[in-house]
């Protein structure tokens, strides 16, 4: 092959390479946004009276995620005195159809997650009832034992502790943290 031909091929190769690399598809500016992949919109606490089997709930719901509009539902936890409740926590993404239950993912990866309950001013004792595969507490299921009538708050937090879970609240970052007003009445 002649030298000039070789060189011409080089030029053509460079130019094609350049244009070829530009071919990736770009969405249009009018594309509607996708729903956030990992959104938690709703935290639902379901209390079952261990004696009467009566069920009550407390819900926090912010359907458009952080920012934007204010939460659409933010309940006060109302419990009876001197009662033991079995409490189940449900985490939902209500922007998806059907509603996506994120608590299942938390259960599957229990070794990376921990629910932390912090009460202020209420006569209440909370004990985590479930464990992850490493026998460390998880918190999707817990027992809440109430005492005398009182007012205060309970903070429900979900910690994401991949690789650093040791059963304590300190490590990791917070995926959920809601300060529910709480009344024992």
């Amino acid at each position: 092959m002649k030298k000039n031909q070789k060189k011409s091929i080089l030029i053509i190769a460079i130019i094609t390479l350049s244009f070829g690399a530009c071919k990736e598809k770009t969405p249009s500016p009018t594309t509607p946004p996708q729903n956030e992949s990992e959104l938690i919109t709703t935290v639902k606490l379901v209390f079952t009276d261990t004696a009467t089997k009566a069920v009550s709930t407390a819900v926090f719901s912010d359907l458009d995620g952080p920012g934007g509009n204010a939460p659409t539902q933010f309940d006060t936890i109302r419990l009876k005195p001197n009662t033991v409740y079995q409490t189940a926590i449900y985490l939902l993404d209500e922007t998806k159809t059907p509603v996506d239950s994120i608590s299942n993912e938390v259960l599957e990866e229990g070794q990376d997650h921990l629910f932390v309950f912090t009460k202020v001013g209420v006569n209440l004792n909370i004990q985590i009832a479930d464990k992850d595969i490493n026998s460390l507490p998880l918190g999707l299921l817990s027992y809440w034992s109430t005492a005398a009538v009182s007012n205060g708050s309970v903070s429900v937090a979900l910690k994401h502790q991949p690789g650093v879970k040791d059963g304590s609240a300190a490590p990791g970052e917070t995926d959920v943290e809601i300060l529910f007003p709480c009344r024992i009445q």
């Binding site: 460079i14 500016p29 912010d62 458009d64 917070t174 300060l179």
Partner: protein, 766 residues
Amino acid sequence: MKSIVITLQLLFAFSLFSQKSDCHFTLKGTVIDSADNKPLSLTNIELIGIKGKSISTDKLGQFIFANLCSDSLELHISHLQCEHIHLRFKLTKDTSIVIYLQHSNHAIGKVTFTAKAEQDNLDKLNLRKLDMQKGGSIAELMQGIGGITLLKTGGTISKPMVNGLHSNRVIVLNNGIRQEGQNWGMEHAPEIDAFLATEIELLKGPEALRYAADGVGGVLMVKPASVFTENAQQLKGEFNLIGATNGRGGTSSLILGSQLFKLHPIYWRVQGTLKRSGNLKTPDYFLANTGTSEANYSAALGYQNERLKFEIFYSAFQTKIGIYKGAHVGNINDLLKAFQSDTPMYKADFTYAIDRSYQQVNHQLLKTNAEWQLNSSSSVQLTLAYQKNHRQEYDVLRTSNAFKGPDFDYYINTLTGDMAFIKSNLHKVKWTAGLNAIHQANSYTGRFFIPGFYNKGAAAYFIAERTWAKWQLETGFRYDYKHITAYLWRGNNLHVRNLQFNNATYAIQLHYQKSKALEYIFSSASAWRPPAPNELYSNGLHQGLASIEIGDSALKPERSYHNAFQLKYNTKKIKIEAEVYQKYILGFINLVPSMPPQLTIRGAFPVYEYVQQNVRMSGLNMAMKLDLKKFYYVKLSSNLLVASELNTHAPLSQMPPFSGKLTVGKSTKKYMFQLWGQGVAKQYRYLQGSDYVAPPKGYVLWGCDLSTEFKIKLQPFRFNLSINNLLSSKYRSYLNRFRYFADEPGFGLTARLIMPLNCNLNNNKK
């Protein structure tokens, strides 16, 4: 590369030899560097209109053309492919000329008054200075320029801050094209391969108006080497090999270019860079997930004859940047906990692996540029460029079996065109008139932060300069029209917003050469900037900062008025450059805390809103070099900035604190060694309660550099070593957004081997 430009002093020494018949005249000459009166070799001398009459000066700066006819001659004189000069005269006898070429400080063929050789320049970095910074990001390269500090996000992301302003307010020109990425983000670094730069300059005069109206903070120009090599029969290039201890990083970069065909003036150049670095280390611990990787390449082709210069350039930049794991906080309590903790939450060892969260950015540029020399004094330039920027941001996932893609996916494609007519009347008057046009489409998938939009704009500009004996005046005027159509989704409803802006920009610069050593420069400029999409429409959680940012769709453009006085004093022993400036920005778009905190599923977050204020920024940038006996020297530089809101006098946040740097060194022909100490004060000017924690305390860092040149057989090498944070001091920087979470990197040694390549292609097998 130093730009050699025009000439003030052109000495024609016509000498009379014996008369000869029509086509037997000789033209000989010498080209002299006016900076040091030494002959300039490798200067290209071209006789326009006469085929094959192009030669280079020899070691003595001399050239000779024989057998010329009696005619009007047009000479084109260029050195290192930078700006060139044209000379016209009628040849009627054997002639000898002396041409003084002068080094310039400026980008667009500007006349300068004094000799400025390898001088410490406040607003410009040349190849030699860049050598000592190689291996860093493009922003790290820029910080040697007076007034430039780095705005960092951890140890892996840095972007330039010009006199306290950054992001939307600072324009970066890459190879003459305005860099168009998601520039608004404080954690979005410029997507430019640092090895493409052979010169970086902060444009201060009216020439900046050619490129942009909205450089409220400044316009930074990154110039690559020219594709047009001087010697046709040489393969020219450079190979760089760099290793750094902190992060155990390695970089290699190769650039190669030559003339493609022996008989046609077609030139080529290819270039590529590979970079990899792992977890950085503070004096006490490794920073989890702070690895980076980068792979870039570029190719250029150029054609040049007497009248036409044509270039096509393509570059691709790809990077993956790890984001420090300890900075990922879920809510404000996590953030407060991170402040109180002295040790990181996530212990890490060294690794090159990059985990979520990270950024992945791909930037491509295709540029064509044509320049016609219409006659000796006028030319037309046409530039077309297409840029494609794709940024992906991957956050930490809540569960590992969830979705694996990016949380944010931004696309911004930009087509720009520029047409300019340049007229230069030898050395007295020069003017440029031109038109700009832009079409830009922005889109995203994933979480909403800024909306999709189309941005269309057009501008006309006029820049002129006039030179008198000791004075030089430059003026520029530009008028812009901009139309933005933004597409906002509210639930399932699409809202279309149309925004229109049009406004004027001007700049004036006056130089006065008081004496051979002393020069004064006064400049006055005004710029305006329309509000950016994030300032208008953002409404959401800023994960890294645990805050909610709310835009305001009613924001108006901001306008700046900048006045500066610059003094340059330059003798053999002492060189001083000092600049005082004052800038007023009316309607400065600022993110300020607003009450009350907003409740989310992750707890309450503080809310920040974009508001407009009138602000004043005053500052002083200074650099000085003192040459002592026996090749010793002392350098001193400092930056001072005071920025306040005009009514309340409240200090603006995130402004660089006072800093100063002292360097002592020795530079001989064989080696250079220097030791430096840099002091950065605490930022005392800060509004109580405007930040989660008070600004970190001041610190002093030490470092040293060593550089030398040597030869193995015939191959020359440049070798240099730099040590940063010599004493491995523990400190945090106010301009690092991750100052809340971790210390800055400790001791780091970087070694660089630079191998200039010069191969002769003389395979004359004919």
